[in-house]
């Protein structure tokens, strides 16, 4: 749940004096889309994305035009400091996945540099790292079975659900509560991901307790406008 666990810790960074061309080559070589820029002390001063570089250059399609080529050469030889985003949004290693998600959404960025209290670059967390983190949080990197359970929206249902699962001695990878997925009657959907193959009996017990197993296609059909 903490940034430190999921960030890329191998630092690949540039400095302000490197040229746009050098920065582009480094990003290509390392197969990365975001390059943090630091000063001599390792302090974060900016970030440049491959999109920043591409937007600064004329299109490849008009490369045959010599004036464009000259323009490209000129841009590529400029220092990256002139192109980077200065003082970018960044996070601390002890910030959470939640922070990263909301910041990425708010600022519409694909990566956040990670700095310590002194502003020294410690890592970077990109969308790909978030995907891996969430795959792990959901437990779906391990074999298991997802149950889709509809329950009345009242206190105690989650407890009943968890008690039933643990009474069967089954480990749980995650339980998602989907607020957007409700039965028409105000019920709410739980998605326990169980680290087991053996779900027949736990399902039977849940049904006996009044939970309903949700079927994806049936749910979808219920969402469609009703014919009058």
């Amino acid at each position: 749940m903490f940034v430190f666990k999921d960030m890329a810790k191998t630092l690949i960074n540039g400095d302000e004096t490197m040229t746009v061309s050098q920065a582009r080559d480094l990003m290509r070589e390392k197969d990365i889309r975001h390059l943090p820029i630091t000063d001599a002390a390792g302090k974060l001063v900016g970030i440049v994305s491959d999109r920043d570089i591409r937007s600064a250059l004329p299109s490849d399609m008009v490369d045959t035009d010599s004036s464009c080529r000259e323009e490209s050469v000129m841009i590529l030889s400029r220092p990256i400091g002139s192109l980077m985003t200065k003082d970018p949004v960044c996070v601390y290693p002890f910030d959470t996945l939640q922070d990263v998600l909301l910041l990425m959404q708010r600022h519409r960025v694909g990566a956040l540099p990670v700095v310590d209290e002194d502003g020294i670059l410690r890592g970077i967390v990109a969308v790909g790292d978030m995907l891996s983190a969430f795959i792990e949080v959901m437990g779906i990197h391990q074999p298991g079975t997802l149950l889709c359970v509809l329950a009345p929206d009242r206190q105690g249902e989650m407890k009943k659900l968890i008690d039933t699962i643990s009474d069967e001695g089954i480990s749980t990878g995650s339980i998602l509560v989907a607020r957007g997925i409700q039965g028409g009657d105000g019920r709410k959907a739980f998605f326990p991901y169980l680290l087991t193959n053996n779900v027949a009996r736990v399902k039977q017990k849940l049904i006996e307790q009044g939970f309903e197993m949700l079927e994806p296609v049936k749910w979808y059909l219920d969402q469609l406008p009703k014919k009058s």
Binding site: Q142, P143, L147, C148, T196, N197, A200, Q204, P216
Partner: protein
């Protein structure tokens, strides 16, 4: 009626999984009792199991895993690799016997003694990986049979059809880089069902790209969806691949009665699958087919479905 082989050995019951485990000896006991009662058993060519030579197991599994499994049983460990993969003292020998039995069924079909065969074995195999046990499976019976067909009998192209409701991760991984074995699986969608693999984007890799195909079925779907996916996905794939021998990973847990899954295949829906697979074997493989039991946990339904499956194999339906 065709001469259909039937592999069973009472020693398959010696793999004891403990109370309340769905993969229990009663599964086989009830299958055989039902076949006996209906008189069908007497019409089948009986195949007796014998232990597989370790060499054949090693065509699929790492030697260190084989030894680890043997030692875990000998030392009285309760399980291997996950607490649901329960083992007892006899589990290793039983698993060797299951593999060896399946290989004998393959021999019977290749020698022409039997037209095809059904193997009522325990433990099942399709989740078993190269180096670990998974999902109640220890040795990958079907994968080993495929290698055996190639090495001993020189059969070049093997088609494997896995209709267990769970994806056969082990079999897929073992053959994913191989263009001589086509692995097709139809199963409950991996978002919902164990083990969470077998998406449509898994199509094999390297030389094996295009030689793996998966048809996930959403929970709640049944006969219509199976019919559609088998017709649209399996048939064209096998027509292109032209298998010379068909191996089936036969799971009966997609049935509506079986709560191990959320799919709703009916008994009739299963009959459609049985008929289609026999037709497939006739069309491409001269009828040569060996079907190996995987899952199926509803103890009332399982024997009926197995009996129906065998009737289709023997051309009695």
């Amino acid at each position: 009626m065709l001469r259909t082989g039937f592999l069973y050995d009472p020693r398959f019951l010696l793999h004891v999984t403990g109370d309340d485990h769905p993969e229990c000896p009663d599964r086989l006991r009830l299958i055989v009792e039902n076949l006996e009662r209906s008189g069908l058993l007497g019409q089948l060519m009986q195949i007796k199991a014998e232990k597989a030579k370790q060499h054949w197991i090693e065509t699929v599994h790492h030697i260190r895993y084989i030894m680890r499994f043997e030692e875990s049983c000998a030392f009285g460990m309760p399980s291997i690799d996950h607490d649901e993969n329960r083992i007892c003292y006899d589990s290793y020998d039983t698993a060797m016997l299951a593999v060896g039995g399946v290989l004998k069924a393959v021999d019977a079909v290749m020698e022409g003694e039997a037209a095809n065969a059904f193997c009522a074995v325990r433990p099942p195999g399709h989740h078993a990986e190269f180096d670990r046990a998974m999902g109640f499976c220890y040795f990958n019976n079907v994968a080993i049979a495929a290698r055996y067909l190639q090495e001993k009998w020189g059969v070049k192209r093997i088609g494997i059809v896995d209709f267990d409701v769970h994806h056969g991760n082990g079999t897929q991984h073992i053959f994913e880089k191989d263009n001589t074995v086509f692995y097709y699986s139809i199963h409950e969608h991996p978002s919902f069902s164990y083990p969470g693999t077998g998406r449509e984007f898994d199509i094999g890799m390297g030389d094996g790209e295009g030689f793996t195909k998966n048809s996930p079925v959403l929970p709640g779907r049944g006969d219509t969806e199976y019919r559609k996916r088998l017709t649209d996905d399996l048939l064209p794939a096998m027509s292109a691949f032209q298998p010379q021998f068909l191996l089936l990973s036969s799971g009966f847990d997609a049935h509506v009665d079986d709560l191990m899954s959320g799919t709703n295949l009916s008994t009739e829906g299963y009959n459609f699958i049985f008929r289609l697979l026999v037709d497939l074997a006739v069309r491409f493989c001269g009828g040569r087919l060996v079907s190996v039991l995987e899952g199926g946990y509803h103890l009332d339904t399982l024997p009926i479905l197995v009996s129906n499956h065998i009737k289709y194999l023997a051309d009695l339906k």
